[in-house]
Subunit: 309 residues, 4 copies
């Protein structure tokens, strides 16, 4: 069965292919201009910062369901090793880490998804190779991410602690949350969409956290596109609603965002503390730093996003 | 042979032990108050950002001399894997990375060094264990780093492209560079000291990049302490001068900074592009975002520091 | 609560400390003399071989319950990489693997366990260090293992497909199985004890496979010691019965075997096909090759044990 | 430039394609019949065993020249971890290892090489994928290897400690070494060819050990094929002579052995101690156990080959 017509139509509507040139590998990160950065800087009024990252820990969100995507494994290659042979003098401890780039709080880079043999901007999917990973659109191409961040707390505006599993967020939900936030999303912004789904994770139920889940949907793609959002992140595992809306195309939002729009997606972002603070002071915009780790050829990378209000 | 008296004396002078309470694990990161953050925010005037990270790549700075501290190894666990069994539809690529936390651009966390059986703030060095890494002063305790950054381009003010191997930077060098920068270093700042040493690295000579090297010294410790600097980073492998100044204590600056002052150190920071820009516009201060990856129990972490001018 | 007296008494009875000298790191591997090897060689009469290893695969026996002990992760560092730049000519594929040494079919080496601060033969437990693993009794000290193997199919002789969870195998069970096998266990033999527990694993229930489990017990320790067995392996996760017999000392058999006797233990050995063959031809002895991988400082290693009849 | 005609002709002469059926993934391992195994067993006359493996250690043969093929990295995930919370009672140490499958003493499996888009027996090279490695001819398909081993000490018969770098071993060299060994190589044997090249390795010169090197050549391929040898191993890094004999096809022996003959290759085998013993007693045949680790989808695996005389 081919991909459904609604999908192809939506793809045509939102595509950014060629928009920044045939060689562009940055997609909507191009929208974070110095002006966008400064607009973010202006939001930093109190100097208080919030880390939006889950810990990198072996007891992380991964359950083993995705073959080989391991939680971070952190081991010591030295513990108080006497640097000079004398344990009373200089001793150093050192460590290594093994992890999936997408194991915990991370960015999906543009090379993470493909369909019909293409990545973003028409690059062949075959540009992803074992020897070097993503030779086009690798995450290391994104040198820095500093812009205005906007929290759309959809769970809050719908009056729940956690959206229902399988709930497909709508454009109206985003409008309502933006109204609650008292702001308009602008070009170059990064939008953080809160579902409350991590309630499961903190209760110890990783399977429930993973799937089924609420999330973004085919109905929100154009909302982001029309506002020229630079990226979107959620506090979920799957980013988009699961089960999906149409079994003829699974993870359509991934394809539309990553491949057609060239827009990165953040997953497993920890939004609860920030959301609590925004609810308290009514300020839903902030300076957001979310620069990826420059993993050469990475399809994504861990990130410690920081919101400064 | 015991540690020399000059070392013990300097340790007493600069110690921050107990300054933020007996349970404090953050050290000078405590100095990045909301006020310090805002002082950094004010420096972001043009919206232009500079990543200060070397790529995370198997051809990284490590030469194998440090047992087990491997360059980043990035491998694909899936390449365009058909998510639905149909290669024309949704395909996903995914990857893992194995690396030393200190392999490339990174922070030395407070648990990285110890002597006389102690970490920062009197915590026993035995709090670093195989099962969980650093149970005190782990890098994950540092949730975010957003503050003013200041570049002291010592190579520039000394009129060289690269300081000589083995050159011990002095307090006067830092003063001269600060004067060149037209600013005073303040409490909560992060100071970036440029030596030009990466000239070797970019010429392909990793051994020369590593050692011997120019770097900070016993003569600069008090300079940072008296200004209550939050952290210091260099563009070198060893951070401090090598060979050291006194063979009775190797890496004394590591001990004085990490253990006595509780001040983190950045290593392998890429400063050349930033330095070129600062030389051009004469502005040596900037908003600096350098939040570590929250590796639970990490003695350090990779970081992608971003300077926004 | 101290270790119980029965445990200390049994430890005294079975201890091999000093038996092969104060510097010995091989323990009962010393019993595999050339004569023992030849006795094993004599058993190879038909030339048919059986691998006793579970596959090394990400879908292995580990469930994540043991922090950081990951199933084998196998990734490609190159897939048909053109060696000469021409994809029609020489292409090479290459891979790496990340795994716990004890993740699947493996040997527990002598450094795996300690109590009262000691390893086998009085070596301090502190000889196990982060920098180099087991500096005494590392698995690499065991260069080769070639001897007679004997299968004691306890499940078979008890008329069940799988021993009950929590069933503590007795000396009488071993006698019965040896009688069924029509042989006497001799010095330098390696004894394989079959419980049938992998029925759970092949049914997909890794938790049931793990614990609770049937296994060897305090009642079988002297049986092996008095026969001077070189090593023992089972088809279980825990090797010894779980829950244990005395909550004042958990895993007592590990301590008595590894620390007191210096006798290695095999875990997760796949015995079903071999057992079926032995039941068919009534021959329960064979040449056994089970040399560990020479992981320097390893507390254990994966092994592909091969029985040749 | 196409592959040279001599290569294609030799390929046709030695090909085993279809010999064991169109679905065969074992190649010359099929030649290790129970009879071959028994012929090996007969050689075990004294019961003395020799491990032919280099240690698995971070200071291994790899120099970083091959991207991502790291030496074994062994780290502790626990050191004397109190199993019951009481450090006087049961404590366990555990570890993980990260390594290239081909980092040290190993087998090249049949999926390691391809040309013209084919692996052994006509399987498409595209059967090697990121998600699962080698889905055809994976090393795990070779359950066990127990057969007669024969040492051909070419260095010895040529009167040198080490063959010259770049020396292409000839069929005559093999004949001379077989005559010295006083035996004929038979179907199902595994032949170990000693060059003495590890002299460099033990002198600390890993680069010299690697390349250039003596090794097998186009002139020895038919020698092995006509004797229906099951596998060949050398004490070198590259297995075949380097530089190669014809720059139009690099690593031709790899292609002829692995792809055309379906014959595995061993590399980095440690042969010096065995060779010394064979020279002493004049016996150059032995029982050889060299079963690979069953890495699912592996292109190769580490191995601890053991020769028993």
């Amino acid at each position: 069965m081919p991909l459904p017509e609604w999908f192809h139509e939506l793809a045509r509507e939102v595509s950014n292919r060629g928009r920044w040139g045939d060689d562009d590998e940055l997609g909507t990160m191009n929208l974070i201009t110095p002006e966008a950065t400064l607009r973010g800087v202006e939001c930093a009024k109190t100097g208080r910062s919030f880390s939006l990252a889950l810990p990198l820990h072996h007891d992380g969100p991964q359950t083993g369901r995705i073959p080989n995507r391991i939680n971070p494994i952190h081991t010591m290659i030295g513990i108080n090793t006497p640097f000079m042979g004398d344990p009373q003098k200089t001793c150093l401890s050192d460590d290594i880490v093994v992890m999936g780039t997408q194991s915990a709080t991370h960015w999906d880079g543009l090379a993470h998804a493909s369909y019909e043999g293409r990545l973003y901007n028409g690059f062949p999917a075959t540009t992803v190779i074992a020897e070097a990973g993503a030779t086009k659109c690798g995450i290391e191409k994104v040198k820095s991410i500093v812009t205005r961040g906007v929290l759309l707390d959809v769970a809050l505006v719908k009056g729940v602690r956690r959206l229902d599993a399988g709930y497909a967020i709508t454009a109206e939900d985003l409008d309502t949350a933006a109204a609650k936030a008292g702001l308009s999303v602008e070009s170059g912004d990064i939008v953080l969409v809160r579902t409350g789904q991590q309630e499961h994770l903190f209760a110890g139920d990783k399977d429930a956290y993973r799937l089924p889940a609420p999330g973004l949907s085919s109905k929100t793609v154009k909302w982001f596109r029309s506002r020229d959002v630079a990226a979107v992140a959620t506090d979920t595992f799957s980013f988009e609603v699961w089960p999906g809306e149409d079994e003829e195309v699974l993870l359509p939002v991934h394809l539309l965002h990553l491949v057609e729009m060239g827009m990165m997606q953040g997953q497993h972002w920890f939004l609860d503390d920030l959301a609590e603070d925004c609810a308290k002071d009514g300020v839903y915009e902030f300076l957001l730093h979310a620069s990826p780790e420059p993993i050469a050829g990475g399809t994504g990378s861990p990130v410690n996003p920081v919101a400064t209000k």
